[in-house]
Amino acid sequence: MTDTVLNPPEHTVPSVFTRAPLDWLPWLEPLAVDQMTERHMASLVDAARVKSPYFRLLARDPDALEARTRTDKDIFYNPDAGLPRAERELAAAATSRFNGCLYCASVHARHAATYSKREADVQRLLDAGVTADLGERWNAIVAASVALAATPIAFGPEHVDRLRRAGLDDLAIADVIHAAAFFNWANRLMLSLGEPAATAGP
């Protein structure tokens, strides 16, 4: 069978960055659940992800997917010191805002707002973009994330100095680097293999 591009069903294209949950519609055929081997299933890491067309599409290269997911989880969920979870999510949201990934930004802006309880600041990042004034510590994290997302990379010693002045130790700065770097990975997959769609709402 010749592979083909999928035509997503009729949907509402989101036109602004939002914290509302979005759907994601694939442009290539995910694996069908009944075609998936044990290896494919294991590559999802979380069995519930079998419901996600995104993860069933990535499961076509199961070793890459599993390693991607385990890298992701440690960068964001490892509770051992370093950068608080809220600010790892802020780096992810800022990177996604700058690269233009509405889907990733929606998920991680929600997480950043949940963990920080600073909904208004997170919403300002989405509405006004990465130059929004969020207070110096968050500004430093956003600026570092944005500099790292530029190609060629614009991150330099001045970003490290600013993060140190904002109170981050070297483990926390390494967490900023990893969280922002990881979303340069995630954004490119989400943006290029499918598209976001507004959900019908509750």
Partner: protein, 200 residues
């Protein structure tokens, strides 16, 4: 970057056992191990599928070169040469880098309030001479790689159709996309950690 067992990020950053960055990476041991596992999955896969080692390393060199990450690009070029690729292919990768380098991210948003943030930029098409050496399949990949590196928000089904037309299967496209996306991570971790360590 010789072989696939030594940690590639450690090697590219220059992390030595017992150094401060070694201790920092040890606090995120799963991320360290699985970044390396991703490298193995994409550059030394147990089941290579239909994406050849030459294609993987040529794309790797191209992605790193587009970032201006000269030392990292040299490592992928070295692995490409070790795999028996012709010097002409390495030259074609270098030529493509010279043709395609620009500044990202740019691109368009869905029509609406975000349109004011639309930023124009290069839609790269491989030059005729470079295309002759790369061949149609790798040339199509390089055009897609450029889209992902510099203006991923311009991605559209037509870009994937161009890959299918050039002989990339759906599964091959997933692997190609992971290579570009993973390297976008790896290059930033390496660059960021080198700066954190105060390296010039």
């Amino acid at each position: 970057m010789s072989g696939t067992d030594a940690d590639v990020i450690d090697a590219l950053v220059g992390i030595t056992p017992g150094s401060p960055l070694d201790a920092i990476r040890a606090r995120r041991a799963e991320a360290r191990a699985h970044a390396q596992a991703t490298y193995r999955a994409l550059f030394a896969p147990k089941t290579p599928g239909h994406v050849t080692a030459h294609e993987r390393f040529a794309v790797g060199g191209f992605v790193a070169g587009l970032h201006g990450a000269t030392a990292i690009a040299a490592c992928y070029a070295e692995r490409l040469a070790e795999g028996g690729a012709s010097p002409a292919l390495k030259d074609a990768v270098d030529a493509a880098i010279a043709e395609a380098r620009t500044n990202g991210p740019y691109g368009r948003y869905p029509a609406g309030p975000l349109s004011r943030e639309d930023t124009a930029g290069l839609s790269y098409r491989v030059g005729a001479a470079t295309r002759r050496t790369l061949g149609p399949r790798l040339a199509a990949a390089f055009e897609h790689v450029h889209l992902l590196v510099f203006h991923p928000r311009d991605a559209a089904p037509a870009a994937l159709q161009a890959l299918l037309d050039a002989g990339w299967s759906t599964t091959d496209i997933v692997t190609l996309s992971q290579i570009v996306a993973f390297l976008s991570f790896q290059i930033r971790v390496v660059t960021g950690l080198r700066i954190l360590a105060g390296a010039p």
